[in-house]
């Protein structure tokens, strides 16, 4: 019984992490209709910024996390203004080619600057180890991930649903021409959204170094996971990817624990079954475009 709860806890933490990493992709893909395969590169950038700040410059871990967000968002906004916006109107194939190229460049750049071996972020002692709640092992670091990611999810949902910016964004997505006719600065809204998505990825990258490992091949290795989250969740809202992440996280952990021989395939099997059942993802809107 306790092992079920421990697994559930690990699965939720893993799923939350996947969500923070992938939700920026859901935003650019679903809301802006842009295929950004370089998403993992922004996550990696955040991870490396955090590592350099903590390990080399002695910053506390919690102070470095926001900076991982800010730096990835800053890189995102610069690239959006200089490169990405020229591709919004282009075909998806052009977007794929452009972003996959960007991914390879980021891999080579980080390999050149930081070397190819895996890096770790030095964690404060308070985040290390596990404690027991009625026999259920709770990892401190994973608990922190659940708290941070949970708050972020609530915050995001509130911003999208309740604020003026949220309604502008939704308007800009639904009909960019009408929205700009109403005086909404559509490019600005998109740029801001893009940067925010990149920032979230950066934060996710910093958080995931401990669990997934951080090396220059991060964007390539985890691209498939981000895409699974977005395809399974559907890209019309953030609730879809959120539930998909949780489902995949829990499924992956449980699969590896209970049927270790089949473990790595569970996540793919789930994806196939869900997509046969609902080709547009769990919460996909049916072909509005």
């Amino acid at each position: 019984m306790t092992s079920i709860l421990t697994n559930l806890f690990d699965g939720v933490a893993y799923g939350m992490l996947l969500f923070v990493l992938a939700c920026g992709l859901a935003v650019t893909l679903g809301l802006m209709n842009f295929v950004n395969l370089a998403h993992g590169a922004f996550a990696m950038a955040g991870g490396y910024v955090c590592m350099v700040l903590v390990n080399r410059m002695g910053w506390p871990f919690f102070a470095a996390l926001p900076l991982a967000f800010v730096s990835s968002a800053a890189i995102g906004i610069v690239l959006e203004r200089t490169l990405y916006r020229h591709l919004y109107a282009r075909s998806h194939l052009d977007q794929v080619l452009f972003t996959i190229g960007l991914t390879f460049m980021s891999v080579a750049a980080v390999d050149y600057i930081q070397g190819s071996s895996r890096v770790f972020i030095n964690l404060p002692a308070a985040l290390q180890g596990q404690f027991d709640v009625f026999g259920v092992g709770i990892g401190r670091y994973r608990l922190m991930i659940i708290v941070i990611c949970g708050l972020l999810t609530i915050g995001l949902q509130m911003v999208l649903a309740k604020t003026r910016f949220g309604s502008r964004l939704r308007a800009a997505v639904d009909d960019p021409r009408a929205a700009s006719g109403l005086g909404i600065n559509v490019p600005q809204v998109f740029a801001f959204t893009f940067a925010f998505g990149c920032g979230l990825a950066g934060l996710g990258g910093a958080l995931s170094a401990e669990i997934l490992g951080l090396d220059p091949y991060f964007p390539l290795k985890f691209m498939i996971y981000f895409l699974i989250v977005v395809t399974v969740g559907g890209s019309s809202s953030i609730t879809g990817p959120f539930l998909a992440s949780l489902l995949l996280g829990i499924g992956d952990v449980a699969g590896k624990y209970y049927v270790p021989k089949m473990g790595p395939f569970v996540i793919y099997t789930m994806m196939i079954v869900i997509l046969i059942w609902r080709p547009n993802g769990l919460f996909g809107r049916t072909a509005t475009r």
Binding site: N7, S116, F120, G137, E210, L212, D252, V253, A254, G263
Partner: protein, 396 residues
């Protein structure tokens, strides 16, 4: 794909080759005056640290011993295969056909070494394996000689040690590819023969993002120790999550072949790794004078500690030098392989030799425990099993 490194290396070697060619134009020399070694290593990709270490070690050796042996100038031509066997094969073909190399050497992973094997046989040139560790490699061509290790060597030794030291129940966690399966099978064979019991057996996918569920399973199985083989590079993640999950506090030890505590990465793994017992061919803390000099020279030249891959590369180039000395500069491949058989020398890792029967390495396997020495983590050797052959073959 990742062209940058490849290009810069190519450029560097091209410059070197151009310089040599320039010299040759001034002093008209016969083609036979140089011996070419085609070095195929993963310089990019996840195995790049292996390639880097071997390249460094060879550079160091050639700085120390000079680049001329038996009147011939040694010329190294480096190709990056990114540990992808298809690329290894192409690289080997180019080296043999276009560059007319006299040796092919390197090979970061088993599939790479196997991909080049038929080419070595056809071209009748020695293939010196400096990294890959699966038993079968040397059986795939009579021209393959190995200076690294086989996983059977360290896995059987750690099994024997575990049995003798009161470890009765072991859970295994190994990466699901040829070397991982080798490690697992040889460990199991010796461990169960000695009366031990394997209570849990998990094979993790090679590209494994998260060890958590596997480790939880290990913890719930309550073994005395976990036997671990993961490729160098994943060891750090494994050890961190092992400590996070409190397996160390539950009294579950980590044992295994030394890959998990590779010197290359050991010092960054944190104190969780303290007390891990592994069996392996080399530790940077090996107490011989020769090793102290080797480590000091390596650190001075490259700023990092040499790992077992570096020492395998160092011995590999040494073997090439010695073979040329013995044939007196004759570059006939068959004669060179004959000359390599039975070679014996003192390496930074200790005394080693090439088994004349199998062309595989015979070496001491050391049992080591991770300890803190002068504030840094090292594998400190405390027991030695002398002149271990590859048990993967002798048992057959």
């Amino acid at each position: 794909m990742f062209e940058r490194n490849q290009l810069s290396h190519k450029a560097a070697w091209a410059a070197a080759v151009a310089a040599v060619a320039g010299l040759a134009a001034v002093v008209p020399a016969k083609a036979e005056d140089s011996v070419k070694v085609g070095l195929i290593l993963p310089m990019t990709g996840g195995q790049a640290s292996t390639g880097k270490q071997i390249e460094n070690a060879i550079k160091l050796y050639m700085q120390q011993k000079g680049d001329t042996v038996a009147g011939k100038k040694i010329e190294i031509i480096l190709k990056d295969d990114g540990a992808v066997p298809d690329k290894t094969k192409t690289a080997a073909q180019e080296l043999i056909v276009n560059d007319k190399v006299n040796f092919i050497a390197g090979f970061g992973v088993t599939p790479a070494a196997l991909a080049a094997a038929p080419l070595a046989t056809q071209a009748k040139i020695p293939e010196v394996v400096m990294a890959a560790g699966t038993s079968i490699i040397t059986e795939r061509s009579p021209y393959i000689v190995r200076t690294s290790f086989t996983l059977a060597q360290s896995s059987t030794i750690i099994a024997d040690w575990a049995v003798k030291n009161g470890i009765k129940k072991v859970a295994t966690l190994t990466s699901d590819y040829a070397p991982g399966n080798d490690a697992l099978n040889f460990f199991k064979q010796n461990f169960t023969a000695g009366g031990g019991e394997v209570v849990e057996e998990v094979k993790t996918p090679l590209a494994n993002p998260d060890f958590a569920p596997f480790l939880q399973r290990m913890k719930d199985a309550k073994p005395d120790a976990i036997f671990v083989f993961v490729p160098a590079g994943q060891g750090g993640n494994f050890m961190k999550q092992y400590a996070e999950r409190g397996l160390d506090k539950a009294g579950i030890k980590v044992i295994g072949p030394g890959d998990v505590t590779d010197d290359d990465l050991l010092n960054n793994m944190g104190d969780a790794v303290l007390g891990t017992v592994t069996a392996h061919l080399y530790s940077a803390a090996h107490p011989s004078q020769m090793n102290k000099d080797f480590v000091a020279a390596y650190k001075k030249a490259f700023g990092t500690r040499p790992g077992f891959m570096a020492v395998s590369g160092y011995d590999g180039i040494h073997l090439i030098y010695e073979a040329l000395k013995k044939t007196n500069g004759d570059t006939d491949g068959t004669k060179l392989v004959e000359a390599m058989k039975g070679q014996k020398w003192e390496s930074p890792r200790g005394p080693i030799s090439i088994d004349p029967e199998t062309r595989d390495i015979v070496q001491n396997i050391y049992i080591r425990k991770v300890e803190k020495v002068d504030g840094e983590l090292y594998n400190v050797e405390f027991a030695t099993f002398e002149a271990v052959k590859d048990l993967g073959k002798t048992k057959k």
